[in-house]
């Protein structure tokens, strides 16, 4: 799949970027860390023999979704809403500690499973993936043959999203007109 050293380097970048997003005081910086994370993951996809997904990841996530985030942040001027280390009040403290505790449990479970031996790899031909035809053609055929119904449903979903966004934008404008 990939040599451990580049893997660990990339993984370190990915985790650092994720943490940067989590801890950044400035929402724009959070967004930039998120882009870094996405691009690292895209490189993982390339290494995992998924070039199409890698390119889609960059185009959609980095090129569209995060730009949208930045757009909204700049529109609202919301980059410095409140830092994460503000004063902590009663119920919030409970929330925070519970959350961190549960997160630790989650990582702990994963670590436990991996030390138990991880995924059972007997009988799985791990070389098949390297020669798997993941070209856009193959992916397209899979999409339009086995997954044609989900594909249509996704189209409907996107249509619904467009309608929803238009309605949100629209009602506001009319409200302003009335005012």
């Amino acid at each position: 799949m990939i040599h451990p050293i580049p893997f660990l380097l990339l993984a370190a970048v990915a985790v650092a970027a994720a943490l940067g997003m989590l801890l950044s005081h400035n929402a724009v910086h959070s967004a930039l860390y998120l882009v870094l994370n996405f691009i690292t993951v895209a490189i993982f996809y390339l290494a995992l023999n998924a070039p199409f997904i890698a390119m889609v990841q960059v185009t959609v996530y980095a090129g569209a979704i995060v730009v949208l985030f930045l757009f909204v942040i700049m529109l609202l001027g919301a980059e410095r809403l409140r830092s994460p280390v503000d004063e902590v009040r009663g119920p919030e403290r409970f929330h925070r500690y519970t959350a961190i505790l549960l997160a630790l449990v989650l990582v702990g479970v994963a670590a436990y499973l991996l030390f138990q031996g991880g995924v059972d790899m007997t009988g799985v031909d791990t070389t098949a993936g390297a020669t798997l035809d993941a070209s856009p053609q193959a992916l397209g055929l899979a999409l339009f043959q086995s997954y044609v119904f989900p594909f249509q449903v996704t189209g409907v979903l996107l249509l619904a999203a467009i309608a929803g966004v238009v309605i949100f934008g629209h009602t506001k404008k009319r409200g302003e007109d009335n005012a």
Partner: protein, 367 residues
């Protein structure tokens, strides 16, 4: 080839192309100034660097101004480069780089010439992402989609109202026109039945796609102009409204890098346009003399560049709402319709239903 060899080859080719494009960028600025000047009945830069013709007493000069880019570069490097107060320092500094990098990256997948042999070495004069599986077109889309970051971050980080407005305008414009661009790109892909740019060029061997799909080519060219933010879509540089838009707070070489990004993107998009619609490196005798491909594609790029400059000299700037309206209500529907019709016709032709249908129609009217 081993991965190491691929990496080394990529590095060498990348280095050569980057150098070539940086030089090309410099002379594109000169080309623009010269052509614009001619179109406006001026002479243009003719002082810096010339070859005097001695027997005319040094009055007549050859190649006047060919050192002008160097002079510009020196000027930009020598200028003071102040950083305004209260900018977001890190972002402010990386924004110009984020603008330049995608412009160069696009060129990574352009096929410059057919594969050829030179002595013992075999050259494939372009670098494919993920060797073996070609997603060259997707790579172009991915890179153009992240090229908006330089602009949007420069605008935001400058901590200036003009810059933010320019940045937001620029990003809205780029995102809008990228959609039409992305859809139009599908047409050459469908016609060539491949996402490999080499295959797309080869598919244009009998006839260039611009002749089969003139509408698509026009839409692509317009969307590319908007993506480049060149006239008549250069709103973010509308001096009257925004002074200079997102880069108003930049000076010196950091400003120069935005400048560079724009011209490099001109070259890259011209290269893409040539590849998709003008037959790429194709031309007479390319089969026998592969290196001719370089010349052909460069000629085509220069043709596109001159066209862009000409348009800049001829057309007035659009208003912002006209610009967005044109993108969403004009180009995008045309692109989608063109795409759907092309797809239907291709499928019908492959199914063999097109010919009988045309036959039936013909029988119906002619008998």
């Amino acid at each position: 080839m081993t991965p190491g060899a691929i990496a080394i080859r990529a590095l060498i080719i990348g280095f050569i192309i980057s150098l070539a494009v940086i030089t090309g960028f410099a002379y594109t600025t000169l080309l623009e100034r010269k052509v614009l000047a001619r179109l406006q009945h001026r002479v243009g830069p003719n002082r810096a660097g010339y070859i005097p013709i001695p027997w005319r007493g040094g009055e007549k000069r050859l190649l006047g101004g060919f050192m002008q880019p160097a002079a510009d570069a020196v000027k930009l490097f020598m200028k003071e480069d102040p950083t305004p107060a209260k900018v977001d320092r890190v972002t402010y500094n990386i924004a110009p780089m984020l603008a330049v990098i995608p412009a160069i990256l696009i060129l990574a997948v352009i096929p410059w010439a057919p594969a050829f042999r030179l002595g013992p070495w075999r050259f494939t004069p372009y670098f494919a992402v993920a060797p073996g599986i070609n997603v060259g077109v997707l790579f172009i889309l991915a890179v153009t989609s992240i090229s908006v970051y330089g602009v949007i971050l420069a605008g935001w980080a400058s901590n200036s109202k003009y810059a933010v407005l320019g940045g937001i305008r620029a990003s809205a414009q780029m995102i809008s026109y990228e959609l039409a661009l992305g859809i139009i790109v599908l047409i050459p892909i469908m016609m060539a039945n491949s996402m490999n740019l080499g295959d797309i060029v080869e598919a244009q061997r009998p006839v260039w796609f611009i002749f089969i799909q003139p509408l698509a080519a026009i839409v692509f060219f317009i969307a590319a102009l908007a993506e480049l933010q060149r006239a008549p879509f250069d709103l973010l540089e509308a001096e009257q409204e925004l002074s200079a838009g997102f880069n108003v707070e930049y000076a010196g070489m950091r400003f120069g890098m935005f400048f560079m990004a724009e011209y490099m993107k001109m070259i890259s998009l011209s290269a893409i346009f040539s590849t998709f619609f003008l037959g790429g490196y194709g031309g007479p005798f390319v089969d026998r003399l592969p290196w001719l491909g370089f010349i052909y594609i460069i000629l085509k790029i220069i043709f596109c560049l001159v066209l862009m400059i000409w348009i800049r000299a001829s057309l007035p700037r659009l208003r912002y709402d006209q610009l967005m309206g044109f993108g969403w209500k004009g180009l995008l529907p045309i692109a989608v319709l063109n795409f759907i019709i092309t797809a239907v016709l291709i499928v019908m032709a492959e199914e063999g239903t097109l010919a009988p249908l045309l036959d039936t129609v013909r029988q119906f009217f002619i008998g």
